[in-house]
Symmetry: C3
Subunit: 190 residues, 3 copies
């Protein structure tokens, strides 16, 4: 990972880090801190607990799927963005994004997205797709989470449970158009 990150940095390819389970074990926390220190990271995206732990806030992480942080998330996110020089994304019912200047929230999505495994990794991958073509890291991150959330909203409206939800999530994401994204996004700049 370190070598791949340096190669990407040398070629100005954006590096996205998803610090899965940071805070759950010291190994994961320490390695994520090392990644962030050694490399130039474009976007760090985690849940409130993972980002809270890395930011030095009073945070709790249980396993890779849950976590919580005490304190004002927008403040923590903006301060950690300033400290790292990265765009910080905290996913949740309301996603919070900051590049250290703006703080942006995204309200799209559906609780079903927390009932199937892999949606956090999918979200990170979609951020990667968007920042690959848009140099505004915070704006691209917000747009990508809105797109993913809109697909989740539609899949939830047309499924019979978590199995068909997951199938539909891929389908709706694949057919989402820029005009639908613009119309249905719930992106707000604080």
């Amino acid at each position: 990972m370190i070598r791949a990150g340096h190669a990407a940095n040398d070629r100005n390819i954006p590096v996205i880090v998803d610090p899965v389970g940071a805070g759950a074990t010291s190994y994961r926390t320490n390695f994520m801190s090392r990644l962030i220190q050694e490399l130039r990271i474009s976007v760090i995206k985690g849940n409130a607990g993972e980002i809270g732990v890395l930011a030095g806030a009073d945070a709790q992480v249980r396993g890779v799927d849950s976590g919580d942080v005490k304190g004002d998330i927008p403040d923590i996110v903006r301060d950690f963005a300033i400290e790292t020089g990265s765009t910080i994304v905290v996913s949740g019912a309301s996603d919070v994004i900051s590049d250290g200047i703006r703080v942006i929230t995204v309200e799209n999505g559906h609780p079903f997205m927390g009932r199937v495994t892999g949606t956090g990794c999918m979200a990170t991958s979609i951020i990667g797709s968007f920042v690959a073509v848009n140099p505004d890291m915070a704006g691209a991150s917000a747009a990508s989470l809105a797109a993913f959330g809109i697909a989740g909203e539609r899949a939830a409206a047309h499924c019979s449970g978590p199995g068909s939800f997951k199938t539909s999530l891929f389908d709706y994401l694949s057919v989402l158009t820029p005009s639908e994204l613009e119309r249905d996004q719930k992106i707000r700049i604080l």
Copy 2:
């Protein structure tokens, strides 16, 4: 695994072991025996071949998905439960469960469940969910396999093949109610 098992034992968290491929390689057989000896296992769940090998019966295992045992499965299961102090579950067309006192069979399920990968691991996970809230290990194991089998029966009745069967299996499991489980279960105490 050993360390996680000891930590769970110290906290009285039930430990479920699925001895995947025991009998297929000596490494797997030996490691499973070690797990069973070193830890206090609440439930050991495998197919007839895997449990037969661990119980010292005349059993054959080919790969991780098939196996067979000579002899009377209910007897082998009850004796192995007494020997280990664990609840033993043998999955199959008719599941056989024993805590050393009772021997229970569960007849729910559908042959389609053997045509997609992962259903054995899913069954073990569902046993884990049930025993987490019900201290009667044998009863909870029987109820969990009945629930999973009922979901499989419904999915099989509404699918077009193994792909849509797997999707529907998750859907039907997620909406199963306690009263439906009570009505449709085919649990029998021998």
Copy 3:
């Protein structure tokens, strides 16, 4: 892998090699060359770049999912089959197969098959199923890719996106009959 391959060779069980990412890293290229040299391989199946690299042609491989080769693919495939004594399969919009004597193409399939992960591995597995019962390696490989391609054509005609495509691909493959395969195959001997 080497030991498993020798065991299969000793028992005359066909060995199929899918040289995933050969050409993308020297480790993968070298290990695949070693597999091919040490073992008696029945079928080597890859994309144009992977086979091109192993065959010593002027080929490019980027990651595990794409690659290209300069030169006439049927010629490269036939020559590499003669050199190795294996049946060579190059998958693509038009699959090319040779056992060193015949060169066969298969035109079944749908672009959607390149939009979900795992279809290359599925194709290799299906080749394995067909050659297990048909000693004509090139003919069995062609029939298997036709069967898989026909299932892909049907799934593409009845899906709403890549999620439901993948589900339907399993469904249609499971119900395909020999007479449908015979009717819809686009196998051609050059």
